[in-house]
């Protein structure tokens, strides 16, 4: 019973803060609302008894948000006067693109079956042992390929930041 209330509370927080990420004027506030959204999502993982995923979610995204925070302070111009005015055509294009993306998502989600979520809550599916067995067993190749992808991204970032190498 209490998990159901927790679920509704977390879902409401996640959606509300996700909306505030978009609607708040100040990018710093957007970043902070994003943290709350991630924490609410991590709470969902904990409700599903996937504690490992929840903790990793917090580690990765809290770190990422920290970097984003620094990025916002350093890169974005927080002065309102010099902020470039966006023309109407860009605004219309953005709205249309967002609408199309929403359409695709709705079309994709409409067909999904909800399944029985309660079934997963007690067999320890999110515990590290099971997750490790799945990652290094059934999904070995995709997992390794994604690590190579991360490595190449890291090398690329290092290369791009060294400007004096030609």
């Amino acid at each position: 019973m209490i998990t159901q209330y927790l679920f509704y509370f977390l879902t409401f927080t996640a959606i509300f803060c996700a909306l505030l990420v978009v609607f708040s004027k100040n990018p710093i506030y957007s970043a902070l609302y994003l943290i709350v959204t991630f924490f609410a999502t991590a709470g969902h993982y904990f409700l599903l008894n996937a504690q490992f995923l929840g903790a990793v979610h917090v580690i990765v995204y809290a770190g990422a948000i920290m970097v984003l925070f620094i990025y916002v302070i350093m890169m974005l111009n927080l002065n309102k006067e010099v902020e470039p005015h966006k023309s109407n055509i860009i605004k219309i294009a953005a709205t249309v693109c967002g609408g199309i993306l929403g359409l695709v998502l709705i079309a994709a989600l409409r067909e999904t079956e909800l399944g029985e979520i309660t079934e997963y809550s007690n067999n320890g599916i999110g515990l590290i042992e099971k997750l490790g067995n799945v990652l290094f067993g059934a999904y070995m190749v995709p997992f390794e390929i994604s690590t190579v992808l991360f490595l190449s991204a890291m090398v690329g970032a290092v290369f791009l930041s060294k400007k004096n190498i030609h």
Binding site: L32, A55, I59, A62, M66, F69, I70, I73, I128
Partner: protein
């Protein structure tokens, strides 16, 4: 025998016999909250006094010696002074974030108390991913520091916060890697399991040189993560006035100050749990008599003793080493500590697979 575990179990059974289970659970939650706050207050007072006394000994002077015997109530007087002072909010500051930041730092520090095993059978939440929980929650406090630095609308504060961010992003890596060496040796992330694995010897003795290396990297990285000298660039007094908490006054400043000391305690408690056996007494092989004497000392005293030994170590090198420059700090992490701890992780993995530890 009177031990913390028996006292807690006694309270638990008494509450359950007197009230119905829901009310008893509520009572236990309230008691736990009060205990956590009490631990906070006492630790803050004790650690600040200890820091000042250790500093005094290092510099061959007396330290606080006016209020109470040997200056024991100096920190109580300081706390009273801070409570009486006005908590200013600067006009140009972002009011909401400015006032929220100290509490976020404080909440992060408080959450970290949950998975620590204080004594045999005394643990608030024995979560099965204890170590990961700690690294997840400890990264939250940086967000508080960044918020404080940005919301103060002050150049020094912002610089301090940015330095703190860069520092924690880098040093989290080697702290995590050195924690993982112990996780590999134990085969579990649960803190109680890690303590139980050290029944026949602490990891620092059982794990030979690789664990010793990861212990040293852990201590260095943790010192950097808690923003203490020689890595206290985030609040370098001679360069940045007071760093990210320049604009804070009164109790809001005190919260930052308190959270810093609590973080030191927690970092050292985790170091003691992972490397020095937590509450496990010191045992030597087959020396039955010696082991029996060691078992006679309560487990809580072992835990507190080890933790305070590590805290003393951290204070020792605060007053011994000069502060690093920013580039030296980042060089130390990315060019020395990180490669060393990565190699060390490989060595420990081989050691764990081959069973080369005792």
């Amino acid at each position: 025998m009177l031990s913390l575990e028996n006292i807690i179990n006694g309270i638990h059974t008494w509450l359950n016999n007197t009230f119905d289970p829901t009310l008893a659970l509520t009572c236990e939650f309230v008691l736990l909250g009060i205990t956590a706050i009490a631990i906070f207050a006492v630790l803050g007072l004790v650690l600040v006094l200890m820091e000042r006394k250790v500093a005094a000994i290092m510099q061959i002077r007396k330290g606080p010696n006016r209020v109470g015997p040997f200056g024991m109530f100096q920190t109580v007087a300081d706390t009273l002074k801070l409570i009486m002072k006005e908590g200013l909010t600067p006009d140009g500051a972002d009011k909401v974030l400015f006032n929220l930041a100290p509490f976020i730092v404080m909440i992060a520090a408080m959450l970290l108390l949950a998975p620590i095993p204080f004594a045999k059978g005394v643990q608030m939440w024995d979560i099965n991913i204890g170590v990961l929980f700690i690294s997840a929650v400890s990264s939250i406090s940086v967000i508080g520091i960044l918020m404080a630095g940005w919301a103060s609308n002050n150049k020094y504060s912002l610089l301090g916060a940015m330095r703190s961010g860069a520092q924690i992003v880098s040093y989290e890596l080697s702290a995590g890697l050195s924690v993982i060496t112990i996780v590999i040796l134990t085969g579990s992330l649960q803190l109680s399991e890690i303590v139980n694995a050290q029944q026949n010897g602490w990891w620092i003795f059982k794990g030979h040189i690789p664990v010793l290396i990861s212990f040293v990297t852990f201590i260095i990285a943790v010192t950097a993560e808690t923003n203490r000298a020689p890595f206290d660039l985030a609040e370098a007094e001679s360069e940045l006035t007071a760093g990210f908490h320049t604009e804070y006054s009164g109790m809001k400043f005190a919260l930052f100050f308190l959270a810093e000391y609590i973080n030191i305690f927690i970092a050292c408690a985790i170091g003691a749990t992972l490397f020095l056996g937590g509450w496990m007494p010191f045992h030597i092989g087959n020396w039955e008599g010696f082991n029996a004497i060691m078992d006679y000392i309560p487990s809580s005293i072992w835990f507190v003793g080890k933790t305070f030994f590590l805290i003393f170590l951290m204070m020792w090198f605060r007053w011994t080493f000069p502060r690093l420059r920013v580039d030296q700090l980042l060089n130390l992490e990315w060019k020395y500590l990180l490669p060393i701890s990565m190699l060390n992780l490989l060595v420990v993995t081989v050691m764990a697979i081959m069973g080369w530890y005792f």
